[in-house]
Every structure is written in C-alpha cells, then in structure tokens.
Symmetry: C2
Subunit: 220 residues, 2 copies
C-alpha cells in the first residue's frame, strides 16, 4: 500500500515535470537541475559560471534549501534574479515547487534557469523537475568512492562536475577511479574538472552549457 502510494506520487511528479519542461521550452528558457551533497560547492560554482558566461547567457536561479536564504542572498548580490524555496525540512525539490516558484520570474528576460537543489545525494535523484539538463557535483574533498556508493544520482545525470580540483593535491581523491566509476553507470555524461574559486575550466564548462542550450532539440 505504501509502495503504491509512493509510485503514484512519483508518477504525478513526472507528469508535472513534463508540463514544466514544455513551459520552459516554449518560453525559450534552458533549465539546469544542479544536484550534489551539502557543501560540494554548488553555489560557488554558480558564481563562477555566471561570471564566465555573463556576455552569453542571462541567468536566473531557484534556490532550494531546508531553511534560510543564505544562498539566495549570494545570488542576489550578482544581480541575478533568484527565488528561494524553503522546503521546511523536506529533503528534495519537486516539480510542483518549481511550478510555483517560476511564477516569480519574467521568463522573457531569462536564457537559463538554474535550479540549485537541496544538498542531498540520495533523495534528489528520484524527482524530475522539468529540467533540460541534470548536472551532478562531486567535490574532490568528498572522496573518490561516492559514485559507487550513491549510484542513482550519477546514473541519471547529463554531466559530472568534479569540483574543488584546486584541492586535489591535499586529498587522496583518484580522478581516474571516479571517472571510471561514472562511466560504468553512465556512458554519455560529460565530465568536467573545475575549480570555481580559481576559475579553472570554468570557461570550458560555460562553453558546453551555452552549446547544450543551442542544441536543445525541443527549444522553440
């Protein structure tokens, strides 16, 4: 009985996610769902990405957090439109939350909407939000075994960003092992090794996202 209910909830979420995606595509807004552990560097990555793509993409952000608005305040400082969702304890965003939050934006003025999900390498994996691209962040300080230990979210991603690569020498993280583990789960996902604080490979990442947006098949 419980399992049926959970499946029904997921099915309802998937239908709403499809509606979100159609709405975004019609409005010409490319949507990225950014997922990863607490503290893997999602917000710092966005600060670096927006700097590296400032002349090419007009971004906006939905910040998903259990509580508070620390991340939204950081994004607002960049003069990027931002809506904060507080889940009040819930462990992931869902498509209904996104549909409500999107009301707060002028979509005509936006090229790319990044949804920064709640920091959670488990529960976020099951919920399509209506994004065009799902990007998972793994910092080198978390250890190279995390892909094997939390496979679902890596399997269902379009790209893996290995972040804080500037700290690599201070860790025992083996990039080759991480990439091999990712490849076992995901044959097509792009892999980037970036450091948002030093700017390493942020231009490459920005180029890729700009191209993904151009090649988005269902873009109107």
């Amino acid at each position: 009985m419980k399992i049926v209910a959970a499946k029904q909830l997921l099915k309802a979420n998937d239908q709403l996610a499809e509606e979100n995606r159609r709405h975004f595509s019609e409005a010409g807004v490319f949507v990225v769902n950014l997922v990863g552990s607490p503290g893997c560097g999602k917000t710092t990555l966005l600060e670096g990405l927006f700097a590296a793509s400032a002349d090419r993409l007009a971004p906006a952000v939905i910040e998903g957090d259990i509580a508070g608005q620390i991340d939204a305040e950081r994004i607002a400082k960049l003069n990027v439109p931002v809506v904060q969702i507080n889940t009040d304890g819930a462990c992931h965003l869902d498509a209904a939350m996104i549909a409500a939050a999107v009301e707060g934006f002028d979509l005509a003025a936006i090229d790319m909407l990044v949804i920064e999900n709640v920091g959670n390498l488990v529960c976020t994996a099951g919920f399509d939000l209506g994004e065009h691209l799902r990007v998972v962040v793994l910092s080198v300080t978390e250890g190279d075994d995390k892909i094997a230990k939390y496979p679902a979210i890596f399997q269902r991603s379009d790209a893996l960003l290995i972040t804080k690569i500037d700290l690599l020498e201070h860790t025992n993280f083996d990039v080759d092992r991480a990439v091999a583990d990712y490849r076992r789960l995901n044959a097509d996902g792009q892999v980037f090794q970036v450091a948002a604080l030093t700017g390493q490979a942020m231009d490459t990442l920005a180029d890729w996202i700009v191209n993904q947006r151009k090649n988005q098949p269902d873009r109107v």
Copy 2:
C-alpha cells in the same frame, strides 16, 4: 492523510528505537549513531577512533549505505565486527533495520556499537535508531554555513565533530561562525575539531566517548 501516515510511521519507529535502546543497555553495549553528509569523513573517523581507543573499547560497526560494501570492507580490515545494511535507494536507516542487523553480532563481546548512517544531512535527522549518543560530522571543506542551512540534524545531536581540520588553511571555513551557529541550536552539545588522517584531537575524542559510556545513566 499523507501527513498522518508519516507521523504513524515515525511513532512506530520511535517505539522500536526505545526497544533497541533497552536491548543495548541491558547488554552493556554503548551505541553511537554517526551522521553527516556523503564524504564528510565518517569512515576515516572510525578508523582513527578505533586506533585511539583500542585498549579501552571493543567496537563493532553497522554500515548503512545505499549500495555496495566499500565501507564495511574498510572496517573489516581492522578486525572489527561489521554488518553492512544496503538500503537499496532509501535515504536513511531506521530502527527496524538496526534491530535486524544486530542479530549478526555477539553483543557480549562488544563495548561500543557505532552505526554509520547513510550520508545524508537531512533525512537521517528524523529517525531515532535506539542510540545513546548521536554525533554529527561536518568537514571544513563543506563550508561553515551548513549548520544554518541544515539545522534539524545539528539541533538533535550530542556532539559536533568538525573534521578534516588539517585542511582548514586551504578553505574559507570560519570555525567561530560554525560553533556559534551550533550553539544557537544546541546549548549542550560537545564540539571537537579533529583530523582523523593526522590524528589531531583523536585521543581527546576517544576519551570523551569512553567517559560518555561510563556515565550512561541507563547502563546495566
């Protein structure tokens, strides 16, 4: 309707957790529930803790993971009894899983059982497992804003371990801010700054846990 069901589930878990705790206390086994993000350093911390307390505590471990047995294999190498729970996608351990896993141990030969929970700073907060001590791990590489962003788990903890303190100089983590945020949520929790790889403060932590076990009020 959904909310009622969730509350009933939590109530059932709490009752089973109380039974677990009584069972552990009667057997003279002190139980620690170790929680934190993926990659915060929980398993490495256990390796360091067992080395620092080897002459004082006979430990055992329950490893909670979505998939695989990477952590259990690390613990088994120390000749410490270990049971691996695979949650098969579920985001936290619950009291029923612990009751089943405990069947795998000879409790008479154990002083302390550490339950390494699934890496998750959100969902683990709501589930009492029947532990005597809940210890939350936060690594300096995750950033000093995580306590404010994920308050529940820190509020309901007996100690905060700030780990990977050897990497502090390479980060912008402000220890004073983290401790102040913790104090706002939790007046009584102990705070330790440790580095399991270099051994920093591991003896202090081991002393504290040994004393907590001695002072456990409901210990038989």
